[in-house]
Symmetry: C3
Subunit: 417 residues, 3 copies
């Protein structure tokens, strides 16, 4: 109910802020309209001028020159397991736009899997005329990390890194988020985006979220909400160099899905044993730091986080609360040529910890290295080739404890519309 109370408080705040600017009430055709009311300028536009429909698709060919049949990265790309072939990793269609002067909506679905999934569905309520404060309600990205915020259509590497992406499944959850983006920061974000420097989009200079904390749009399995916060700042140097530095933290309790815990696995902390997961809410806490030097033309990007959460312990066949830590570093170069823009990059990641939303909160030790290049052929088409060297240990009660190491070439064609 605390979150509910917060919700009410937030909205009240928002509304008093907005109503002092005389946002009009439900229109009544029997009264004459005050044309000065700013909300009407947008609200009365034709639907196709308010809303925009666009999207992008990522067609992949995984598995070329594969050195091992065992390679798999469930979280990143389920199609890596199995025979080489064509597959869609993402097939996104979205509707977005301002529907009144201070209300923005965003709805994005993914058509790539065996069923269509809602990825985002939120409404932003702007609280002041400068649009520097806003409240977001609904399903959206959780403000934790830089790469998590960055759209997959802008990311260089084919997949997000495990250490920061394991914080929230699909980077998203349901709830309420407050964002503050001062005008100077908004202008820098816009410049970074406009110049094609692989930005994350505006998820606030400061963000504070109250979310279910379970799994994208799934209902919460316990009564505790997650609280997540992020602070990021883009420094601009006199030589034009842009460097963004951020910190983030999350705190909450996580109860693994019953369906993801094998019958005979015990659930408990410190030797304490319980047979039913529903009784048990694990501490789920992390702090992290992010550094991005935007590629003008050479760029660097690194993130690291540390915390604790549920993780499978193979020796005692128990899901326990365990520490986790990991990060990645990426170097990149932006080359504009007459044949398009080229982005060669290398990325190295390490992660040691559990993945709470996988089978038995599967334990991982990851040490992956990727080298690749993105080629922006034109505004609509991008091609990525990436060679991945993977060394991964994992453990759960179903597949047992295993390690695989190997390499493969992966290719992706992305088209936008």
């Amino acid at each position: 109910w605390f979150a509910g109370f917060l919700l009410l408080t937030f909205i009240s705040t928002g509304v008093f802020a907005t109503t002092t600017e005389k946002i009009p009430t439900e229109p009544d055709s029997t009264k004459k309209t005050d044309v000065l009311k700013p909300v009407d300028q947008i609200a009365n536009l034709a639907w196709f001028k308010k809303l925009k429909i666009n999207g992008y698709f990522q067609l992949r060919y995984n598995g070329a020159f594969q050195t091992s049949d065992e390679l798999r990265i469930d979280q990143a790309d389920k199609n890596i397991e199995g025979d080489p072939g064509f597959s869609f990793r993402r097939a996104r269609v979205k509707i977005s736009g301002f529907v009144t002067d201070k209300v923005y909506v965003y709805v994005q679905s993914d058509f790539a899997g065996s069923k269509v999934v809602l990825k985002d569905a939120y409404s932003d309520l702007y609280l002041n005329n400068d649009k520097t404060y806003r409240l977001r309600f609904g399903l959206s990205k959780v403000p934790y990390g830089f790469e998590n915020m960055q759209s997959s259509s802008n990311r260089l590497a084919l997949d997000r890194a495990d250490p920061t992406n394991s914080a929230f499944n699909g980077e998203r959850d349901m709830g309420v988020t407050f964002f503050w983006t001062p005008t100077i920061v908004k202008e820098r974000f816009n410049r970074i985006k406009r110049e094609g420097l692989k930005h994350s989009g505006d998820y606030g200079m400061f963000a504070l979220a109250v979310i279910n904390g379970q799994n994208t749009s799934d209902p919460d399995e316990n009564k505790y909400k997650h609280i997540v916060s992020r602070l990021t700042y883009p420094f601009e140097f006199s030589n034009g160099q842009l460097v963004e530095v951020g910190i983030q933290g999350m705190i909450g309790k996580y109860t693994p899905f019953d369906s993801k815990i094998a019958e005979d696995v015990k659930v408990g902390e410190n030797g304490e044993e319980q047979s039913w997961a529903g009784d048990y809410a694990f501490n789920d806490r992390r702090v992290g730091a992010s550094f991005v030097m935007y590629p003008q033309p050479f760029g660097l990007q690194a993130e690291y986080n540390i915390g604790e959460g549920p993780e499978y312990d193979p020796e005692s066949n128990t899901i326990k609360e365990k520490p986790l830590h990991g990060g990645y570093i990426q170097a990149m170069y932006r080359a504009e040529t007459s044949h398009g823009v080229f982005f060669p990059f290398v990325k190295w990641q390490r992660y040691d910890g559990g993945k709470k939303f996988e089978q038995d909160a599967r334990a991982y030790k990851v040490n992956d290295f990727d080298i690749g290049m993105e080629w922006q052929i034109n505004k609509a088409i991008e091609l990525v080739g990436m060679y991945s060297f993977m060394d991964r240990k994992y453990a759960d009660s179903v597949d047992g404890s295993d390690e695989f190491a190997g390499s493969m070439l992966r290719m992706q064609l992305q088209f936008r519309f």
Copy 2:
């Protein structure tokens, strides 16, 4: 085949009516076009002027101040069961518009659940120039009751009342419907809608439907179609008061889904016992009355229906044909203020009967009371807070016979685009 014959007859009627007005045949570029033909005026518009895309989302926070863990209302909101948290109850996107002068299409999907569902997909064929007669083909709301017709985006209470909503799962089914809305009635409907008085939309002054009668878009489980009819009239008094009075009836046979009948449950009427549901088609009949005094500013709304249908009998562990009856009454008030429009309301419902589409045609005795308020902040955002007092007995063979009573606060933020 009777329904098929009806279909053919309806279409023939429609077409002879329309063709006498010289609806043009498939355009042939080798002939010059007669610009006077009215159909071309719409058919030749750009797609975005013919069609409109819009929708609404309902983000809920259920379970605040919950007095019992057992509270559940499957039909109304599956997320009430379980821990308090954020959830989408509805996430609707629709495409609609006239594609020729006399053909209107409407397609609505819901993205809220674990998979995307088609809610409506129909085409209206208008039979005369005044557009007072039309035939609807496809998946649409079944013309039974006022609250069932009213869009959830307009309803005050968070959920529809069980007594009338239990007639058809999701209020919708597949088939053919004839609507007649005389011009005077159409104008009154438009006025009610324009003034924001919580209208149901135009589902005809008179409506007659032939439908599968099974479950929204699921295939029929028996050869009998359902016939449903509704007559409603909006009276306008000299003081401007608007009162709508309606009656409706439905007749058909219902065969519960095999997947919804537990192995050991018997199916039969009057002691007669059969082990396989497919052999048995229950009578499924109801009549009901509706009364709506629109809120100018005080409003009243009440519906009641009585009938018979399949219902689980716990003593004999049998699904039997049993009587059912129930209704609701709602009082509301519309207050326009400088902070938006406020709609306080109270609603009381009782239902005694089965729900044919739930497990074993689950038996229910419902006595619920809701008190709440809707706040229309602006054209895009509405907030509802509702305190529900529930007292519900139910019985099926899986969960047994149980009663739960309790209360909870529920909140909803609705955004439209």
Copy 3:
């Protein structure tokens, strides 16, 4: 990896072709734009002028005057099995358009079943200014046969014929396709389409595809890709008569889905026996010929193909590599009247072979005859009535070997938007 290599080669070819025409790189707001660059003319349009959203729905009433309860045609229409009633066979919504001067995107989903399915999602990259060469990347129809290419919204018969449609499930697969359509052929295709003569659309005069070859968008179950090619030519005679003649071939290996093979069924060729399907990749090859005399007003259409592929052998309870062959012939007449366009037709099909994507690669002997009429009431509405006489033998390990024969009347209302 061969397919991957092909992919790279294709794209490189495409890009060198395009880049010689100075397709601009990622736009950079710090440079002034060269307005002569053709790509910008489209890329800078508003989204609703680049993209178009449209679709069609097919509402059916199956089973009138049905002579047998056993009639079923899984591949054509799952709703034929079961009780007569209303159902959607197709509910298609698509987004398409040129997003730059040389890049076209097409995304189509189907909302008819219990879940929404992605049918098409591809990008066409045109390689020259005349737009006669293009590469298609993604999920699209496989260039095999005329009826397979023809949209269901244009086809006269309610379902595609088994002999050619059994080549690929849903006519679609994932991969890369090269199309060549010389200008003269493009003009003829356009004329055929414009005059409403039931065209297939432009799938190239010549087409060559490299695809997974498994099942629409499912991942491949073996490392072998399918290669498919088609050559078709529309001859125009001095009297205006249009005749299109085509040939097509496919070659690949097919591994049935484990989930579609019953536990006790053996998988192997020539007596060799293996218990696990994954070990076995069957040869999957066909060649076929197509003939279409377009209906001006009398038309004829015939296709035939022969090949080999997996098929259940009931005697040895084994899936074996077996020969297959079959075809259909259809006669039609196009009558323009003041009440719309009428298309009476008759169609006869025979097929003897397996269906690789059904249970145990089910064996079939099909001998079906359809007589019907399509009535194009206006641009938005079409009505089809079709009487089907079916005589079908099939065999798999679950339903055993069976034969059913019978007839039924089926009706379809199609609306476009």
